[in-house]
């Protein structure tokens, strides 16, 4: 709270709280009645209200207060955590988010939400809540003593608000303890010198009293004792602060404090800067290596090797720092599924697998939109209405699975549903109608499914608010390709569809294979390389005109990079073929020489070269020269295209 913009700090905190609340609510919808979840949601709301008021977000605090009260009823067993209630609180939570971010949020909307919430609570409470709630617990008397740190007032704590909250719990007698007040000459007017003793008679449990101090607990001294019959005179001066602290903190605050100590929030651009520096270091290091290798100076070589090792370690550490678990993003989709289920009237079970899989943070950010689209599609187009499902002999509840796993340098994310699958006939009709394919032409199943990724292609008969406008799948494909990833779809009639996204772990540095074509050097991402073979003279001759290579009884189309790049000089006598693949498709790239592997720091090309699709970027080599990085998706597509053309030509 000290330093920085307190409002911004609050917003960050509020964001975290809202995420916690949302997760709690969604978990609760699956395990209604789970005490610890109900408590967690309640505490989240309570903290949000408290901090909101403290930072002057009064509208938020007031609104949250109502939600808190509603949830309090659930907590006390007076209402049930019904689906309606959870939906109502989720909706209310969006409103809170708007308020916390300072967006325009109309009071009318807030009122409507509260009305809905009210109904949900009353509706749930209509049936007698289990006899579990014992009628009016006996009042107990407590002595609460608390002392705030001297800086509390400067940091925005309001003792009066705390006292008011205690008063809400029950009958209070408040005494200010002035023993900490220094002589006037030493008094610093902005510091808090008072402590308070509150005698409280309440029906609430001890935890309710602790909740009042929930966001100050780390810094303050607090003691809560049952008032003894003897009414022994309390002596605050003798109260050891340490003991009070050990006694008081509720487990949540403790756990939270521990977590805060372990993680540091770092602005994303600082990480990016650091990554740039590491990239430059790696480049400088490879220059050093080149000099050292040419030198006979043993000491220089030793240092160079040492630096090479350190640079590699630093690079790996840096890459790990940028990795975040994908669970962050998966959490968001649970909410999406919840809303989709209500909108479409379909019962949807959402299963996630491999949440601990990690990906570069930039990649995760850019994946969110495409995944939202794919999940919407699965819910809207993929899954059938409940009655159709029953008729088809499937369970009424549809299932959407979102899974992530790491495979080498890639992460594979699959979205699958157990719905009706893609209707081939409809796709075909659509493709013919759009003139994408000649009527009656033979198409492989994979080719047919590819049309789904064509711009403006939608097979939905009716356009719904969710999807079906035909803008999307092509955008999804482009986004994935811009991440150097690939997308593949499989689908089985009545069994469901699966879309697999293959995404590289990081965008900044890749392992590359350095090759030479004429006088220039190029980098092929090593992850895409399957094998390197020599282009024999016979194959070279035989293949003129038909650029196909037989590799272990399979035909692989190949591209002569010399032709593609118009180098104009005669090729080297012994040409090599680098076989690359993205997913199932393979293509050979004919080069003059294979130079070896290279740690490639990817730099983007300027706007002048944005239209050159063959290259995804460039990198600086050890000798200061520049090598362009070949774009695999583009080259493989080009190779497949040529292959198809040649097959068509016979």
């Amino acid at each position: 709270m000290i330093g920085g913009d307190p409002t911004a700090t609050f917003r960050l905190e509020a964001q975290d709280l809202l995420v916690q609340i949302e997760e709690g609510l969604l978990d609760l919808s699956r395990r209604p009645g789970d005490r610890s979840l109900i408590d967690a949601v309640f505490r989240g709301l309570h903290t949000l209200k408290g901090s909101g008021a403290m930072f002057g977000f009064d509208a938020l605090a007031a609104f949250t207060h109502h939600c808190e009260s509603a949830f309090d009823k659930v907590r006390k067993g007076q209402a049930e955590a019904s689906a309606d209630l959870i939906a109502a609180v989720l909706a209310a939570q969006d409103h809170m988010r708007a308020l916390a971010e300072g967006r325009e949020a109309s009071d009318a909307v807030g009122q409507a939400l509260l009305e809905r919430l009210h109904q949900a609570v009353e509706g749930g409470g209509g049936e007698p809540a289990e006899p579990a709630a014992p009628a009016a617990p006996a009042k107990s008397a407590w002595i609460v003593r608390f002392r705030l740190p001297p800086s509390a007032l400067v940091n925005g704590a309001r003792p009066l608000a705390l006292l008011d909250e205690l008063r809400e719990l029950g009958e209070c007698t408040v005494t200010a303890l002035t023993d900490g007040v220094p002589p006037l000459a030493d008094l610093v007017p902005t510091e808090c010198h008072l402590a308070w003793e509150v005698r409280l008679k309440t029906e609430q449990p001890r935890s309710a009293i602790e909740d009042v101090f929930i966001f100050l607990i780390d810094d303050m001294t607090l003691s809560i004792e049952p008032e003894l019959q003897a009414d022994a005179q309390p002596q605050l001066a003798a109260e050891p602060a340490v003991e009070a602290k050990a006694e008081a903190p509720p487990p949540l605050a403790e756990a939270k404090a521990a977590r805060v100590a372990e993680t540091v929030r770092v602005p994303a651009e600082r990480l990016d800067e650091l990554m740039d520096r590491v990239g430059e270091l790696v480049i400088a290091q490879s220059r050093l290596k080149q000099i050292a290798t040419a030198s006979t100076e043993l000491n220089l070589r030793a240092v160079s090797e040492e630096i090479e090792r350190l640079a590699a370690e630093l690079r790996d550490t840096m890459l790990v720092v940028r990795m975040v678990p994908i669970s962050q993003m998966f959490g968001r989709f649970r909410r999406l599924i919840h809303d989709l289920g209500r909108e479409t009237g379909k019962a949807i079970e959402f299963v996630t697998e491999g949440e601990s899989t990690e990906l570069d943070k930039t990649v995760i950010e850019r994946l969110a939109d495409p995944l939202v689209h794919l999940i919407r599609n699965a819910a809207d187009h993929g899954l059938e209405a409940p009655e159709d499902r029953v008729a088809a002999g499937k369970p009424e509840t549809g299932r959407i699975t979102l899974a992530a796993r790491q495979a080498g340098g890639d992460v594979i994310i699959t979205i699958s549903d157990d719905g009706r699958g893609v209707n081939r006939a409809r796709v075909r009709a659509k493709a013919e109608e759009a003139g994408l394919v000649a009527p009656g032409a033979t198409l492989t199943d994979a080719d047919l499914l590819q049309f789904i990724f064509h711009p403006g292609f939608s097979t939905a008969k009716a356009i719904t608010s969710l999807s079906g406008r035909g803008v999307g799948m092509d955008v999804v494909k482009r986004t994935i390709e811009s991440l150097r990833g690939s997308i593949e779809m499989t689908s089985e009639a009545d069994r469901g569809s699966q879309i697999a996204l293959r995404i590289p772990l990081t965008l900044a540095i890749i392992d590359g294979l350095l090759v030479r074509v004429a006088g220039d050097r190029y980098v092929i991402p090593l992850a895409a390389v399957e094998e390197c073979v020599e282009l024999s003279v016979e194959q070279d001759l035989r293949s003129t005109g038909r650029s196909l290579l037989t590799l272990r009884d399979r035909l692989v189309p190949f591209i002569r990079l010399r032709e593609l790049f118009n180098t104009g000089t005669p090729p080297d006598p012994h040409q090599k073929v680098v076989v690359v693949s993205t997913g199932a498709e393979r293509v050979g790239l004919v080069v003059d020489q294979i130079l070896g592997d290279h740690q490639t720091v990817i730099k983007s090309l300027s706007a002048f070269h944005a239209d050159v699709e063959t290259f995804s970027g460039a990198t600086i080599l050890g000798d200061g020269g520049v090598a362009l990085i070949l774009d695999m998706a583009h080259l493989v597509a080009a190779g497949q295209h040529r292959d198809a053309q040649m097959r068509a030509a016979g």
């Binding site: 430059e280 480049i283 220039d520 005109g545 650029s547 591209i559 032709e563 593609l564 790049f565 118009n566 180098t567 730099k603 090309l605 300027s606 706007a607 002048f608 070269h609 239209d611 050159v612 699709e613 063959t614 290259f615 460039a618 990198t619 600086i620 200061g624 020269g625 520049v626 090598a627 362009l628 080009a638 295209h641 040529r642 053309q645 040649m646």
Partner: protein, 163 residues
Amino acid sequence: MSQSMQSWQVLTFDLDGETFALEAGLVREVLDIAPETAVPGAAPFVGAVINFRGRIIPLADLRLAFGLSRGETTLNSRIVVIEYDLGGEPTLIGVRADKVHEVTVIEGAEAEEPPRVGLRWRSDFVRRLARRGGDLIVLPDLEQIFTTRGGASGAVVPLPQTA
């Protein structure tokens, strides 16, 4: 009158015997010729990139925009690195020069609008022409040249098609 009062501080350089000038405010550095890497498929006007202090920057050749011939690289050849706003993004761009002269001031009185006719070059590529001694100094219109990539028709070389 007010127009003729305007003056430009410029860096002058030669290309194929003609004198050109770039606003000095844009210039970041003048480099000796560095090894360059061709970008196959790019517009010939920006057909290569160079390594400029760890950054990869495009190398533009104004000769192609003005239909001049590409001479031999000599000891005097230089690359003028300028920073220019390219589609909202400040971009470092290398500009080839056969020989770099000096930083000088062109007075408004010396400079004139390019004539619509009788000019060897596309008049929209020329911002101002200045006469000095018997010489002509060309202030190119970089905005126009850069957006049209030196007048090249989007020369993306397609994949070779087989018959």
